[in-house]
Amino acid sequence: MELEVSFTNQPIAESRAPLTSGAGSMVEFRGVVRSLEKGEPISALVYDLYKPMATKVIQEILTEIGTAQPCLRVEVIHRYGTIPVGETAIYLRVDSTHRGEGFRMLEEFMNRLKQDVPIWKTGGVPC
């Protein structure tokens, strides 16, 4: 299973990798900053991260999920710094032979991300 994990403080560019050979399913997910944070209107969210550990933990989580849900390729890009409302904070792309393992990978990864990966929303930027 090919893994690509990266971080950027710039807008996330679309994945340009060609579909992995043999893939019958490609799933992409974008988690986008919403205009309300804890009920308050914001114009942006600020994210911080422990980059080397986040990289390592994400790779470990993907590898662990991949033993039960083997996929061909998983790409994760998380943005940090100030992210305006309506822009993507996290991007995931899963290429897999069948759709089932791709859906499971996406869902389980996002659950684990929100438990174990050292990335934080450190605050909202008021409107």
Partner: protein
């Protein structure tokens, strides 16, 4: 003389007022986590109330409370995460 590098994140960083520090102790023996917290408290008392919610990472890996610290370790204080 032994020491570990300590990194503060998110709420722990706000409480500490700095991004990182070093915690040092005499001798070569590993440091128990309780001892680590005692040393940390002296200089960063505001971090101590967060301790129940913090996970400790050693060299980029979460560790249990029984895991001692060795000189040269990088220690991260990890508040509840909120990525994605």
């Amino acid at each position: 003389m032994s020491s570990v590098r300590v990194l503060f994140f998110a709420a722990a960083r706000d409480a500490a007022g700095v991004e990182e520090t070093a915690v040092s102790w005499d001798g070569d023996a590993p440091l128990k986590q309780d001892e680590f917290w005692q040393l940390l408290e002296v200089r960063f008392p505001a971090v101590l109330p967060l301790r129940p919610g913090l996970r400790l990472a050693k060299n980029l890996e979460y560790v249990t409370q029984s895991e001692p610290l060795f000189s040269g370790d990088e220690v991260g204080l990890i508040p509840p995460v909120s990525g994605g």
